[in-house]
């Protein structure tokens, strides 16, 4: 069972007053400004369930009490199933879980450069995440460009190359999401089994500011008909698709995320839901959308604090970079975004591997991030203070001028000091040995995993049924 890790303490940007002001602002946006939902069916559904609806403008205004009710009915912890029950996740707000990014259509490799992703890259990235012990949930790291059955192909890749819980981007409306659920039911062994141990979490995305496309709204209804967990995560670029001020930007993002919460909870109270807010403001000097920013840690921390206030787990963002090279920029940005997400208290930390600000993804960076997470694990244990750890008697015994290396106390506590695999000190002379660079070692490790790691395959009959469903699905295009 995977239980995630919890930092010994989280960062707190806000006090209680700021938290409640942002909360009130969020409710005010949902009730007074409203949100656009581009689907008559969904608007009807929301209208029937207590929201005020304007069909001509495709707007919904959600009364505050209803939002509060949905927040209350939403669970703060739930179980995520996996093909191998050892990999089931006890998912809980307040703890952190890690997964790769998803979506780029280019593979970045230190030696091979940038190449458009293929089905094999999807499969390889899933096998890699399957092998890395600190990766809790598996997503195909890449997408296939211009593939109308992408959502089904991604699902096939994730299910057949990993025994962990899988994450999926939503590409579809009702019909094809239904086909995805058919596949999950097949792999889980039945509807009831799927409900009890859901194999997949779906990612849907509102469009900032304050809109939701029809297919995403429909997907939420379809998915929550089966108790399946989903994420509704806005990309509210601070300064372009949301206010430039962080308090306003986060309030708007929460409103956008909570629209997804409301649709799901009204359809199926208690259905697992993951919220969240995007942490990287638009670069207003250049008009570009980055995957690192100085403000990220502040927003990540606010996101974590709001998650704690609501008792709702959030989707986080870390391990990503604007750089295309294994360089200082990459290392800094990966580490800082991961630390902001983890110490900020975000729950499901996604986006590991993004390079070039989302243009590409790197499998090497997954291996590298696996070590950073291992470091968090070490740090999460904090520092014990007791007679043994204060070690007064030992200090007295060794006294001035002695050493502690060969004492029994050190021997008994060797596991207290972390030994890195990549972030090592390598003594080198004036001819520095590049093969000993951390990222060279990372690449070697990645290669060896891809050569050796073979997760348990799906049974041939299940695989055949998946192929059959994908074949049938072409008719919906």
């Amino acid at each position: 069972m995977r239980r995630g890790i919890e930092p010994f303490e989280t960062l707190k940007v806000f006090g209680e007053k700021e938290i409640s002001e942002v909360h009130r602002n969020t409710l005010r946006i949902m009730e007074q400004v409203g949100l656009r939902v581009r689907s008559k069916d969904i608007l009807e559904f929301l209208g029937d369930n207590g929201c005020e609806v304007d069909f001509d403008e495709q707007m919904v205004y959600v009364p505050s009490y209803l939002v509060e009710e949905c927040i209350d009915s939403d669970p703060s912890s739930f179980r995520l199933g996996a093909r191998d029950s050892e990999n089931d996740v006890m998912f809980q707000q307040g703890r952190s879980y890690f997964c790769s990014c998803s979506g780029p259509i280019n593979v970045l490799d230190q030696e091979e450069g940038i190449n458009e992703s293929t089905k094999k890259d999807l499969d390889d990235s899933v096998r890699l995440s399957d092998a890395l012990k600190n990766i809790d949930i598996v997503w195909p790291q890449f997408s296939l460009p211009n593939d109308p059955l992408l959502g089904l192909h991604e699902m096939d890749s994730a299910l057949s190359n990993s025994t962990k819980h899988i994450g999926l981007l939503n590409w579809y409306g009702r019909n094809l999401v239904g086909k995805q659920i058919d596949i999950l039911r097949e792999v889980a062994g039945g509807e009831q089994e799927l409900r009890e141990r859901p194999l997949a979490t779906l990612y849907v995305e509102p469009t900032s500011p304050l809109s939701m496309a029809e297919e995403h709204a429909e997907a939420i209804l379809e998915w929550t008909d089966h108790d399946l967990p989903y994420i509704n995560f806005p990309i509210q670029f601070t300064g372009s698709t949301s206010p430039v001020t962080l308090a306003g930007s986060v309030s708007q993002a929460l409103a956008e995320s909570f629209l997804g919460l409301v649709i799901g909870q009204l359809n199926n109270p208690g259905n697992p839901f993951i919220g969240g807010v995007w942490p990287f403001p638009m670069d207003l000097k250049e008009g570009k959308s980055p995957y690192f920013a100085a403000e990220a840690l502040l927003i990540q921390s606010i996101s974590g604090q709001m998650a704690d206030f609501y008792g709702i787990p959030v989707f986080g963002t870390g391990g990503c970079t604007n750089s295309y090279f294994p360089d200082a920029q990459m290392g800094t940005e990966m580490a800082m975004t991961l630390m902001g997400a983890f110490y900020g208290g975000e729950t499901l930390i996604h986006d590991i591997g993004y390079t070039g600000a989302g243009d590409a993804s790197s499998m090497e960076n997954m291996v590298f991030a696996n070590e950073i997470i291992e470091i968090f694990k070490k740090q999460s244990k904090g520092v014990d203070v007791n007679e043994d750890t204060l070690a007064f008697d030992l200090v007295k015994k060794i006294g001035p001028g002695g050493d502690f290396v060969s004492t029994e106390h050190t021997q008994n506590n060797l596991d207290k000091i972390f030994s890195p695999e990549f972030l090592k000190r390598e003594k080198m002379d004036f001819l520095r040995d590049k093969s000993k660079k951390a990222m060279k070692k990372v690449r070697k490790k990645m290669k060896s995993i891809l050569e050796e790691h073979e997760p348990k395959p799906l049974s041939s009959s299940t695989q055949e049924k998946i192929d059959q469903v994908i074949k049938e699905s072409s008719e919906f295009l």
Partner: protein
């Protein structure tokens, strides 16, 4: 102060309403609309250059472009009515393709093109292929720009290019594409004339394919 100076001020104050009002008054008072157009284009052009040089922020250019657009909406019909000829780098029709409601990137490109002297017809986002093609045939712009942010909507770009080819318009109208999943090789594959990774490059690419 003349109307032209006041309009310049409206641009630097980002006051869209004031810009529109001043343009209307100026036209009524007999100020040559071509002079107004010159002034606003020059102002926006200066801001565009400063942005390229990294001296000012994008929102400044976009806010100024909104005022310029408002002024142009007043003076352009007057110029057309009087049969006047105005300087332009060319006309570009731009849209985010069907099924895709991402707006911001496309709007940035529109602002930058405007600031570089193009006439820009912005059809908005999620524009159905049918409407897009109808508008193209009606207005016959020098170039068409398409944006898509999703791998699932990028196929619309190919469909539009294909439709232009079928209608025999492909040689008459240049096509430029962009958006997160779009690459130069995709642009080549579907037969687009140009690709741009961002708003600054869009102007350069367009200048190149239109031989400006």
């Amino acid at each position: 102060m003349s109307y032209l100076d006041d309009i310049k001020d409206a641009i630097s104050d980002f006051d869209e309403d004031r810009g529109r009002e001043l343009a209307e008054e100026a036209v009524d008072e007999g100020v040559d609309p071509l002079d107004i157009l010159d002034v606003v284009s020059e102002e926006l052009g200066k801001l565009g250059e400063k942005f390229d040089a990294g001296e000012i922020f994008l929102p400044t250019v976009m806010s100024a472009a909104d005022v310029v657009k408002a002024v142009m909406d007043v003076v352009n019909p007057v110029i057309e009515e009087s049969g006047g000829e105005r300087d332009s780098e060319g006309s570009v029709m731009i849209a985010t393709v069907e099924g895709d409601i991402h707006d911001i990137g496309k709007s940035m490109v529109a602002s930058m093109l405007l600031s570089n002297g193009y006439d820009v017809i912005d059809l908005g986002r999620d524009v159905p292929n049918e409407d897009f093609l109808k508008q193209i045939e009606e207005k016959m712009p020098d170039a068409v720009g398409m944006s898509s942010m999703l791998t699932t909507t990028m196929g619309r770009q190919e469909e539009i290019v294909e439709a232009l080819r079928e209608k025999g318009l492909k040689d008459k109208i240049k096509v430029i594409v962009g958006g997160a999943p779009i690459t130069q090789s995709y642009a080549d594959e579907i037969g687009a004339d140009g690709y741009a990774k961002d708003a600054i490059e869009a102007t350069k690419t367009l200048n190149k394919i239109l031989n400006n």
